[in-house]
Symmetry: C2
């Protein structure tokens, strides 16, 4: 079965339909299942499989245990012209975050910009997906979130902040949007897990041990080891800005009060926070002027001389190339994810014929 | 004279008065000289001498040559409730940027948040100063700017973006604000200049040579060598977000169109861009609740176990400690800066008695 799974290509449409079915089996409405599937499948199409459909089995576990409320509806708890605060009601992070970003886009049409802060969210997958929702409306979108701590501060023995992702997307007319999606850790926890699974050491500089000193042994992460922040105090500092906008302002849980959405009691909400910020380009200058300026910047970067054998990518450029390939040729899921989805299909009694 | 200069302590008030006199000698109004001096001296009081009064001789050169317009007045060229665009008229960056941040603070009082984008700015010194202006009003402040390129992208042979600073400040009630001020390069250009002056090599990873490969020789920076971006593609990507908000939206010059404020024709404007973003905490929740949450976060970080002999600093904590010392004991300027200011005093015929 493993080799069969390995070689199987799935269509983006088939994968989407499977995600919808799986979520509906857990009591999620068709429209919310569709919203969640769109976020997950888009992320897979970018080649970012750590934040795509591979998350589904873990989400299903929390949905069935009640920690993610299948029937939650995001609620605006306060708002004015250029901002809103949203309570996610412990629903799927993708549902609440898509709602929040769409709200920010609508409000920014008249206000010029908008901030929507979210509390009572769960893991929201790839921040870049929400940023992209804004750029599709010709707006600059920024998305960020906090998470349970896995990242040390300079000098600490244990994790101080989450890997607090931040993403942005800049619309560029008939070119692909500039799209960056990063965690503030040097590398993602996923890379440490993978090294551990493969029995490999990790480079110096990724992880600190329980003594606060660098270690090359991935064993024990995240329970008694912590990721290093990217660029040392700079990444740690940016994590606290993200914590402020996602949680200190919104009323979401802060740092260690955020539950671990994988390891903690699946029947309880995680109380993640998130923040969405949108700039409506057309409010500030004619859209064509902006596209001309961004287009010239993109050309300048592409035409800049490269080191031998190198290519200079715009942020997101690799992901857009992968997405076009996935749209035309289908997607080859990593074997562990394909196996996980097959197992989920069996558990939920979903006929995957023509889907996976 | 050098040893006399070395040992001299200056009071913050004396240094401020000297800066005001020097700027007035160049035709800057008393109030604008005062605004500029406040930014420069505050930055020195934080121990960030690369962005304090040591900039004054270079600013004076541009002021006297006309590239910085001594009599410029920042103008609001467009605005709505939650945003404004400001044209700095090629005036002092500190004057325009202080105007822009104060405008953002005033507009955020009613709008909840505010974005002010700036074009036709010049070098604005330390981004953190403007962020702090907002935090003094119990708002979260973010300040950023673009600059002429000095930082490579992964794979490039030459600089692609400026070191594009970003700073933020979070008010914390009766505690010091959390304050971060960073460039998106691995290290500042100042550290490379210093190594060059001292005849020292630099660590691998700071600089790429004209072949796009790492080099440990600081000779030739910035003309044919470039800084590396912090955390590789992450820093490069964040630089482009800062470029977007500071320049693509505002109409400021982009990347290589920004003139080098030190090396390029001092009679011409530099056309820097900048962006200021403010969140009025009290619009979202009672201020006391916010201070309680941020205070608990600060305590949690301070109480977290440290590696042997280490201390975990909040962003800005070292700078606030230095500032309190400078306020009570005065400031010892680095010798090269003290010499530069003495030279400036002679050039401008300023009596430094009781000042420097």
């Amino acid at each position: 079965m493993s080799s069969e799974v390995n070689s199987a290509k799935v269509s983006l449409g088939g994968l989407h339909a499977f995600c919808v079915k799986a979520l509906e089996k857990c009591g999620v409405s068709e429209s919310n299942a569709d919203i969640t599937a769109a976020a997950l499948v888009t992320t897979d199409s970018w080649g970012v499989h750590t934040h795509g459909c591979g998350l589904l089995p873990k989400y299903v576990k929390r949905l069935r245990a009640g920690g993610i409320r299948a029937d939650a509806t995001p609620a605006v708890v306060a708002e004015e012209g250029a901002w809103a605060l949203v309570d996610g009601g412990a629903g799927l992070g993708q549902v609440t975050s898509t709602f929040a970003m769409r709200l920010a886009v609508e409000k920014a049409r008249s206000a010029g910009l908008c901030y929507v802060g979210v509390r009572n969210n769960c893991h929201f997958g790839a921040a870049g997906y929400y940023a992209w929702l804004a750029s599709q409306e010709n707006m600059v979108g920024i998305a960020m979130a906090n998470d349970t701590p896995t990242v040390a501060a300079p000098g600490s023995r244990k994790a101080i902040t989450g890997s607090n992702p931040i993403a942005y997307a800049v619309p560029a007319g008939d070119r692909d949007p500039i799209l960056l999606d990063i965690a503030i850790s040097t590398v993602s926890g996923g890379k440490v897990y993978k090294a551990h699974r493969m029995g490999n050491p990790i480079p110096d500089g990724w992880l600190v041990g329980p003594d606060g000193l660098p270690t090359t042994d991935p064993e024990g992460f995240p329970h008694n080891k912590a990721l290093t922040p990217m660029a040392g105090y700079k990444g740690y500092g940016l994590a606290l800005l993200i914590e402020t906008l996602s949680a200190a302002i919104t009323g979401a849980a802060l740092t260690w009060q955020v539950k671990n959405w994988i390891f903690d009691d699946p029947s309880q909400p995680t109380h993640h926070g998130a923040a969405f910020l949108v700039f409506n380009v057309a409010s500030f200058s004619p859209l064509e002027d902006f596209f001309h300026r961004v287009g010239a910047l993109i050309d300048e970067i592409h035409q800049s001389p490269t080191a031998d054998g190198q290519r200079i990518f715009l942020p997101g450029e690799m992901e857009w190339e992968k997405r076009r390939r996935a749209q035309s040729e289908g997607l080859t899921l990593p074997p562990d994810i394909a196996v996980g989805l097959k197992g989920l299909a069996e558990e939920l009694k979903i006929d995957t014929q023509g889907l996976l």
